[in-house]
């Protein structure tokens, strides 16, 4: 299409093109989807699906083996009083914490994801970024979350932005690669759409909104925009890519409207941990409180769920 950017997927096949995005209409569509009224059995299903898709995250300079062990226990058994509550999809930690997390979740089905590649800015030499990724994979991470090189992307060096992702994908081996676009720094929905296509063409298994370090992260229109990019990519290449929203998702209601947006845009096939994740820390407890409310008819309160 005229004026659009074209990428050649590293996996082969013909070129893929991007389309412009109309911001006003995109936001209106997202707002309309957020009026979907999710009640009773749908709410119960949404809350369980949300938990199953959570990447329970701690990315602090103060993280310790003890803190990570506690997080992992919460990930495996979110509500000790209710065995019907499923485990979350993954825990997401810094590379230094990967081995502790792997030890804690072994045999439970919970995956250990690690940020890597000079997270969160990505402002290191390509070789350093690759080495960081290799280190995290070597420690046992099953999934690697890296950032798009925004410096390269915004300065117009799309080749470098692309090649760094492709190199990361090679380094990951069997580990899944999630590429964080850091949407809050890209300036427009058009740029996010373009960055989404670039990341997918470079081999991302997932595209992810944000590091969680910045505001204006996983907003509903942003997730809708990226879901539409994923649909575009699948239509053009047949390749199915996952979507991870992260940053600012704190309430169950926000989360189920993300499910609505993805479900009505990409289809319910996407609403599994294989293709959809929500990166969050405080979200899980709000979901647990909502489930308690559905089960008992009463709101309990934050003292009736565990802090970690």
């Amino acid at each position: 299409m005229t004026g659009s950017t074209v990428f050649l997927p590293t996996t082969g096949g013909g070129p893929v093109s991007t389309t412009p995005v109309d911001a006003v209409s995109l936001e209106a569509r997202a707002a309309a989807l957020c009026t979907r009224s999710i009640k009773t059995t749908s709410k119960q299903a949404a809350l369980h699906t949300t938990i199953r898709c959570i990447d329970l995250t701690t990315l602090e300079g103060t993280d310790t083996p003890g803190k990570v062990a506690s997080l992992c226990q919460k990930a495996i058994r979110p509500d000790p009083a209710n065995p019907a509550i499923p485990s979350v999809a993954a825990v997401c930690v810094y590379p230094e914490m990967v081995e502790h997390a792997v030890e804690a979740v072994v045999g439970t089905g919970v995956i250990v994801a690690s940020v890597a590649g000079a997270f969160p800015a990505g402002m290191s030499a390509p070789a350093v970024r690759v080495a960081d990724i290799a280190d995290a994979v070597g420690r046992g991470a099953g999934e690697i979350d890296i950032v798009l090189n925004r410096s390269a992307f915004l300065s117009g060096d799309l080749g470098r932005a692309h090649d760094e992702i492709a190199a990361a994908k090679d380094t990951c081996g069997a580990a899944h690669l999630k590429v964080i676009l850091e949407t809050g720094e890209l300036g427009s929905y058009d740029q996010v759409r373009r960055a989404s296509m670039l990341a997918m063409a470079a081999g991302a298994d997932f595209i992810k909104t944000s590091t969680g370090k910045l505001p204006r992260a996983a907003t509903h229109p942003m997730v809708l925009n990226m879901a539409e990019a994923i649909r575009d990519y699948a239509d053009q290449t047949g390749v199915v890519v996952g979507l991870k929203g992260a940053g600012g998702i704190r309430t169950a209601k926000q989360a189920w409207h993300h499910l609505v947006i993805v479900g009505e845009t990409l289809g319910t096939d996407w609403l599994t941990p294989d293709l959809f994740r929500l990166g969050a820390s405080s979200l899980l407890n709000d979901v647990l409180m909502q489930i308690q409310k559905l089960d008992t008819g009463r709101y309990s309160g934050p003292d009736y769920v565990t802090v970690d």
Binding site: V21, V24, T49, P83, T268, L271
Partner: protein, 496 residues
Amino acid sequence: MAPTDNPPEPFGIDYAPAPESTAVVNIADTYGHFINGAFVEPSSGATFPTVNPATEAHLADVADGSAEDVDRAVAAARTAFEGPWGQMSGSERGRYMFRIARQLQERSREFAVLETMDGGKPIRESRDLDLPLSAAWFFYYAGWADKLEYAFPNRAVAPHGVAGQIVPWNFPLMMAAWKLAPALAAGNTVVLKPAETTPLTALLLADVLLDIDLPPGVVNIVTGAGATGAAIVDHRGIDKLAFTGSTEVGKAIQRAASTRRIPLTLELGGKAAHIVFEDSAVDQAVEAVVTGIYSNQGHVCCAGSRLLVEESIADQFVERLRHRISMLRLGDPLDKNTDVGAINSADQLQCITDMVATGVAEGADLYQPECDLPDKGYWFPPSVFTGVQQSHTVAREEIFGPVLTVQTFRTAEEAVEKANNTPYGLSAGIWTEKGSKILWMTEKLRAGVVWANTYNRFDPASPFGGYKESGFGREGGMHGLAPYLHERTGVTGGGA
């Protein structure tokens, strides 16, 4: 629900029912006309039923207005015009109008539920569109009531007197608000006739008018069908006529009105072209095309009923369109997740059914998604015709239902030529990211409203109205005040 060992089903988009409660509305068994500040029995004693088109349930019996009833209403309006309303200052008129606006906001849920029950439109639309816009219209024109001398500087303007207003069934309350607000702001009194299939929200509005102590006779509401409307059109005590509805009835009104000197505004049918270029924001264009034709079941005079898509992207665009249409949720209009509600009446359903049959017979390809239509009520699935030619009936005539036709074009000139090749000229839509193309197109398109990279967007400050057989006169903005005023001569002083 008790805790269970069985995990729930995976989340799906076949959402559990989320019906809006009807407990908030209180529908009487029978309604009289609202004349001179009170509900009165019809002179003939005749009534007609109004039903819920989604269930065919009987909602109420409503007075059938005779010429005698219209005469009483006009007399009451005349008295109010010569009495309190005519002598009132503009700022005081504005205060009444602000009160109406605030009451519509405060009682918006009640109005929205009633609108959906009587008309069949999804509650999402009556709640998020009809009610906010109805209130906005009163707020906006309330602000003009004491500023007429600024709207028409150096001209002495005065209200006509008694305005006769006939409104349609597609946006019953909103169309009443569009008509009443400028008329009242300008200082006229009104005899309003809501459509026969959807009279209930206008009658609930009468309740609001009583609550806010609007002087008796300023707004009179006479219910009935075509004969009642004709009695208003023919009444010699009416000083100004305004009609929104079909082109056919609009022509009849203009014929009748032409026998005497009376100002007239008509907002009639449309067959809008929605033009999508290959350099558009495609996903948003798909969305706009879908909401442009399927919202309110296509019962919209400015509906984007003709999609003109650039041939180079037509196949992909239609494929995406079909997918999107397959996601529309048709069903109980009171369910908060319903996208497409019930057809307004059995008669309208028959019209749509006949038109679609004509389209098939003339050789266009019909696509309808698989969807279960409820057993009771009036329903029609969202429909798309591809392979449509300019000469096909479905591309020429207004269907006023959830039916889209798809044609292609090669150049912008061709798009304009096809878009303008219609007796109508109400609205058009353009989707392109290229600003200069938008400007070029808007100069060429013969349509009263041209939306660029959006569709069906309304604001009380923005004039709306048509060319050609879509009518004349504008509603909204300062332009919407003008038809309710005339220039005085031989008087001193400025404002009304």
